[in-house]
């Protein structure tokens, strides 16, 4: 078990022992759900919010970022998968790949690109969300 593992107890610099922090799976799930929900709107900027939701449910910024990243990326990936199965968006994305890259076969690159952009937004949103939580908790403990 490494020091980065979520189930490890870690002492603060002041010697105060933080309680065990479980893996914020639910934070990631919340981010995932929110990103799926927001994908139904035309406001892609809400991906930051979905990440932030995951972040708010994480006590450490690192885990907030990870929850937002994975949750939003997974949410967008799932959205794309559902769209591919229920609409003609796979073909259309292929045509967009054709326009951008010159080959409709490179649709996978666009899927990867969108997923990575989701991860980026989720990471940034998760970092901000968890930061907000840390600030709130720090003020509370003061």
């Amino acid at each position: 078990m490494t020091a980065e593992h979520p189930q490890e107890t870690k002492a603060s610099a002041s010697g105060i022992k933080w309680t065990w922090i479980p893996m914020p799976l639910w934070a990631m799930l919340a981010s995932f759900g929110a990103s799926l929900l927001f994908a139904l709107t035309p406001l892609w900027q809400f991906a930051l919010v979905s990440g932030a939701i995951g972040g708010l449910l994480s006590r450490r910024m690192k885990w907030g970022a990870i929850a937002g990243c994975l949750g939003t990326a997974l949410g967008w990936f799932t959205y794309m998968g559902i769209s591919f199965l229920t609409t003609q968006s796979f073909m259309l994305l292929g045509q967009v790949a054709g326009i951008i890259f010159g080959s409709t076969d490179l649709v996978g690159i666009l899927v990867l690109l969108v997923t990575l952009i989701g991860a980026l937004f989720g990471t940034l949103g998760g970092s901000i969300g968890s930061g907000v939580r840390i600030l709130l908790e720090a003020r509370k403990s003061r």
Binding site: S14, A47, V96, I99, L124, G125, G131, I134
Partner: protein
Amino acid sequence: MKLCLRVSNEFYNEGILMRRIEKVTLGKMGIAGGLAIVVIVAFSIPYGIIPPLGNFLLPGGDVWTAPGEVPLYEELTIPGLSGDVTVYRDQWGIPHIYGTGEADLIFALGYVHAQDRLFQMDMARRQTRGQLSEILGDDYLETDKYNLLMGKEFWANETLKVMETSSDPLVKQIYDLLLVYCDGVNFYIQHHPDLPIEFGFLNYVPRDWTALDSLCFSKYMAEMLTWGYDDLDRMNAIVGLGGINYTELFGNPQPFQIPICPDYGNYSDITVPLSAGSTGDVPFQVSSAFNNFLTQVTGIPQEADRIAQGPAIGSNNWVVNGSHTSTGKPILCNDMHLAWNLPGIWYETHLVDITPGSDYNFYGFFIAGVPVPITGHNAHVGWGYTNVGYDVLDWYYYDAVDANNYWYKGDSKPYEKRTVTINVKGADPVQFEIKSTVHGPVMTDFLPQLAGNGMQNLPIACKWTAQNVTYEFLALYNMSHATNRAEFSYASRSFHVPAQNMIYADVDGNIGIRPTGLVPVRNDVVLPTWHTGNGTMPYNGSAGEGEWISYVPFDDLPYSENPAQGFLVSANQIVAGPNYLTQRSLQSDYDSGYRSRRINSLITSKIKAPALISVADMQQFQLDVFNVLAERLTPILLETLDAVVPSKSTLQQAAYDALKGWAYTMDKDAYAPSIFSVWVEAYRAETFKDEMTAYKSPLTPSYAVLENLTLNATTNTKWFDNIYTPGVEGRNITMVTAFNKSLAALNTFFATSHVSAWKWGDIHKATFKHITGLSALGAGPYPVNGTSYTVNPSWTSNYNSTDGTIHVGIAQGGASERVIMDFADLNLTLSVIPSGERGISTSKHYHDQLDMFLAGLYHVQYFAANCTCKWSTAWTESSILFKKGGA
């Protein structure tokens, strides 16, 4: 006390820690927030042609919300309908619209046009109205200016004003239908915020549709079919070649013409051009001014494309009367040759007025954006078109007085001026001043490149039949409602632009053809000696040359009804023979005649057999790829090879054998077509390129002229001699030289001397471009049968005479639809388009008919379903119910 201090210290230390945590966290949040802002901005702004990627590509964006297929069933409540309207889409997505009264039908038509072709409609109106810069930026400003100068929008608007105020009840009715059509389009736009992907890519939303947008389409078609620079090329050819040479190579009539209207006599098989040549020299100032103008115009992509496209424009139509058909009634065929695009230009629709007592049942080809059919048939009559090629556009040059005045018949005359505003994406609107002379808009002074080179002293204006209030919508409406020959003929009087050979048949057994449209009569009384008159070359506008004094009266235009020969054929050839009474030269330009010769031959050979012609025969005729030019020249080539090259190389012998065993069909899987096609291109270049280059002629004589010279070999005409060599080459040497060059080129291209590997389809293909030019949304290239001059055409060129190499010829134009109307039973009428009904690139109807088209297949029209009760649910792919209701 100690304990209190310790606790106090701990609180103190923890407070410091908390502040430190806050500080670090805030710092990290700042970085994350800053990055977030950067990323959001990065995904919110366009990069050149690339739209803002956030709105376009990310979940919830345009890619994910763009419409795909139409819903299987839609029910919409529409205020103002007089009854319910039912739309059934068949397995090709073609709507069959059943409604009570025409207004209801036209509303639904507007809706389905927008549902299937909204982007195409929007681009067409923007192109016509000079509004491309608004969505594409200032790169298109020159294009917009040029389109505005043409006056398409202006004259469509003038037509609209007349229609709005007309007291003619029929004109008023059509105007009202126009408004209803707009309502249908706009209902779709307003209720469907999810737009086709092209809108997302270009990052704009369409504005509402207007009656002016629809009316602009007749000008759009006129531009497509009649705008050009032939007069300028003709003048340069005369300047270079001199009048005598010009007349020999380009004079009227061109050889081997079979007139469209057989009632005015025929030309002999090999004809010496009749028209008088010009003498004297074109003033240098005039020719250089027009050359400068043409050079600058070709800098506008739209015009460069038009000039390059050239021969893709054409068409075939023919009709055979019941005495020669297996059905006992006329069979009419039409395939209009236009640029191949996706979505295609035509939109098939079936309209049925189910009002008791109405027998309006129409199936035809519409242009999305236009509420009246362009071609088709009702239960009584049907019609189709080919382009006439009447000379309907003249160019005038002037002596300028100053920037505001020009000389006209000895007086200083001020330009008429109007200013239009051009909206430009990402920039301030541009005020554009349009100046006009008595003839038409001045086309030169908007080109900044021309300033300072003397051009400002020689303004150039144009006069064009489309620069008029014209009534094509009235004509088309009446034609679609005609029940007999007289009504149709009357209706066609209002068809002004673009002039068309209207072929006609009806269930009563009548056939006819009427090359109709506005044809100017010019005052050519006083012309310089170098001018060939009849609008063939630019006129001196200041001197009052070539004034349009009237239009040829409708009844004076050539036509033919129920001719004794029992059939009529038009394929853009000359309209009338030598006995045409008005003695007017109507056309300055027409097709070299190979398609018309072949169609005439196919029909007459059947009649002489004697055999009756069936719909199946007509299908074969439309798909025919027999090369008449090859039939005429190949035997001479083989004779010449025998005479000049008795001992042939292996490659020469193989090519010789291939041509000898060839049946002259341009089959994509055969190899003889490659040999002939490359050879005949090389032969034409070997014959004419030396003189055309030396004399700077922009025109090259047609293959018909080459055929004429080849057959007329006894004179061994001077054109076969290569003026750059010391010897004197005759026809035979030129043919053999071209043969050897073509074999070398083919051998190099295919990298094999096995001629059987030189398949025609490997160097002759067709492509179907998306209207934006985005290749991923287009189709092809596909290997195809045919060539430039076969009945089933696909215009390409393979041979580069400069370096003697060949390349793959990509045809971008040909038949834009095929229809065969059987007037014994119009339910057996067949049609197909080389695209599909729906302009949505992911739809199965985007180019489902293209596959059929390439395979030579047709579809039925379900025309017998003249009420919903006769419509079979088995044919239904989807449906819409427009329910009458609401306020």
